[in-house]
Amino acid sequence: MNNKNPIEHLLIAGRGFTPLLTALFLQKKWGSLAPRMTLLQCGENPDPPVISCVSSIKQFHKELGIAEKDFVRKTEASFHLGTLYQFSDDRPEFFMCEAPYGVNLRAIRFNHWYTRYLNAGQRAQLDDFCMNAQLAKRGHFAPTSPKPESVYSQICYGYKLLSERYSNYLLAQLKPGFDMLSDEIQEIQTDLNGIHTVHFSNGKSISADLYIDCSRERLLNSALTGTCSEPSKEDWRIEVTPEYGLGPPHNLLTLGNDKLIFTTQLHGKTYHQEVTCNPNQLPKWQLDPQPWQKNCVTIGPATSNRPALLIDPLHLVASSLFRLYTSWPTTMDFETPAAIYNESFSDEWSRIADSDSLHAWAACNRNDKDLTDAAKHRMRVFINDGRIPPYENETMTEDQWATLFFALGIKPKVADPLSEGSDDHWLVAQLDKLKETLQAAAQQAPTMEIFYQNEVIR
């Protein structure tokens, strides 16, 4: 009878928050069955200076036993409601976020009613119907209300925080019982099962049952695949801007001139990350389509060199960790767990690549041939009917895809046929009323600075 965890010893390699999150997650998830863990601090620190994360982090933190107030106070994290998209041409700016845009009416999604609203000659932007957008545009903030009847229940927020503070916080959360090493890998001995032993420059060596590579250079994985990734060059520009104080509750993304420029402000500094997109070859930010090889799994920076501000790196790490837990080996035969993990990972990354290609497409020449096939498919169906085709392992919901299309100026030709026949006056009145309600509620909410002072610092 199997009465323990088949993985008794785990080696987690890399620097920054990814190995710490990995260790903390596995400690919490496995409880008394947690394997012995060795954290090997090696390679360069791959963390961006600042992280901006989506709301899924709150659920993840709950899994880790992290209380929101404690986390926000100790990391001095600020709140993040979404990203304001600006275009280098004359397209209107758009506030992109995870929160709902409008409400479904008569069991028909709001984006169809909005299409009809536009077709009726109205001009309001889709983000006029979003609580997050209304708050962010005013620099206001309110937490999500647990009461479903409240307009504040639609609020969906994540955090902005400094990576270094986050790493320190995570380190403090880890329970004793793990080993921490900081050494250079000199040699990795492999056999048919994968990595056998990792030898260090100080003459010591470690053999583990499973290896998790969180290093940007893929220091462990390269011993199995022979491909060492060249650390991607992240183009960060940091300005000291004390006049902005805490910073607004959102980020900025500028799309155009073959560039994506991300900007976030936090605690008196402004961080810019610029990514150049070659219009003839859109970026592929995934490094490894098969991240689990034999007894070694790559997570986070070892898997992707995605710009940190494009999609929350924490979300991707959390998603990989849940996947690792779900496909955890039941014996020392890793073939089936690796197949499960890699298939699910590959599905998820295909969906992320669809979203990436759309952003790069919008920043470059808007030539459809540069889009992934699935992005093209989605766009074609959306333009034609306002629908989002179903894909497995989506990271974005149907509504979020529709919003992204609207954000990039892509609009459907027609609305849901079931919405046709209803009266334009009725529709315009309903939507105008909704817009006014959201605007009034956003106006009543405190500014982010005041909220922070009252609810976090005090």
Binding site: T326, S327, T336, I340, R380, V381, N384, D385, P390
Partner: protein, 520 residues
Amino acid sequence: MPEPLAHRILIVGGGTAGWMCAAALSRRFAAANLHITLVESEQIGTVGVGEATIPHLRYFNERLGFREPDFLQATNATYKLGIEFINWGQVGEAYIHPFGVFGKDFRDVDFHHLWTRHRQEHPEDSLFDYSISVLAAANGKFAYPSGKKNDLLSEYSYAFHIDASRYATFLRRHAESWGVKRVEGKITQVHQHTDTGDITKLTLDNGTALEAEFFIDCSGFQSLLLSKTLNTDFIDWSHWLPCDRAIAVPTSSDGPPPPYTKSIAHSAGWQWRIPLQHRTGNGHVYSSNYMSDDEALAILRKDLPGEELAEPRQLKFTAGRRRHTWVKNCLAVGLSSGFLEPLESTSIYLIQAAIMKWMEFFPRTGDNQVRRDEFNQQMNMEYERIKDFLILHYHATRRADSPFWNYCRTMDVPESLRISMDMFRKVGYLKPYKHGLFMVPSWVAVLIGQGIIPNSWHPAVNEWDADALRINMEKLKQQMKAAASQLPDHLTALQRHCTTTNSNVEPWPKAAMSLYSVFS
């Protein structure tokens, strides 16, 4: 301005598919003022598919505004909590595939891992004792699922056994009151546009010509428009689903109706038993390669619950689907678009799925290519995923008592199914699909019910020592047993819910597009 919707719709064929289309279109597009005509002939019988349904039908009825008591009464319906499969894994074995989940998940690990480990030391323990739906069904109990999340009595859904011809009549009454025009007649000629190949009009035996912008083929197996006129080819799955005949006969009932369907495997197929309020539907589905028609009828007659109420009727079919469901200006719904045997009561669901999806991609007067392609792709996915699940029933068997079962047990299966079965066998893993009909609980029911037990389990369940696990499993089992035993008898519940005169009728739960829950 957007292109206008196709306005004049002609539905070919009555029966369940035809009248479900007519009712849904006339109700849901009431504001669009469509002209909907349905042509059918009283001389042509309907197949009357799908007397057993799945919970999604409740959603369809709800969208059309039907009160559940009215529907129950009109269709002589009984409740259905699942399907009992007898003799499938091995002769003498039985299990119920429930419309509900098993046990309680542990630390994000599916319950069957917990059970697999527990079973190592308690091989007599049955997974099916950890399902409220199974316990209720097996004891002839029924109640609406409670509206409280995390309550043991909320973790299931329900469907119905219905008289399909009465359902068609019920739908017809509503559809006609919502403006659908019914035309009596047999179609003698289908006219097509010489350039585009689109269908332009139909001529009836009385000389009437019926024109429309869009045609819905509900003509059953003959697939008059999609196949015979538009020559859409058929993808044959009979090498995986070898049954190609069915004999159906209604009988009187032998007692109170159980709240589940019975599927009893025989030597070259299986027999259904579907309890209605006024009779029992019976049928024998078999493979003509392995059994003669006479033998099939004799087997059916040997095991009937009551007196035969009509002459036995034979159906011939081939399992498979048309390559596309929507071709040019014609949509096929129901048997005209494909046939998957009624093993998991998917016939009416596939009708419903086609109608609901098609209403999302409703044709317009201009170019419909993109929406047609998308619709076809989504419908094909529905068929493909159901196909794998049905093949599983035949392939996951240890039966070696007849050439038919030897063939099914040893046949090559689709790669997707082979991988699913391998992964489950090795580590108890099932891919958690988001789209499709049958999800993890259904796969677990059939795999374990037919004797495929994982060789290992997720190590998270090792947190409990064997004694603690045994105590917790026993406690859960007792809680479920106690909860199920408190439910009223099926017949009592049915009589109470069926009344339409009582203004204090018990409110029925909202419907959801899920097999396992009434929560969306």
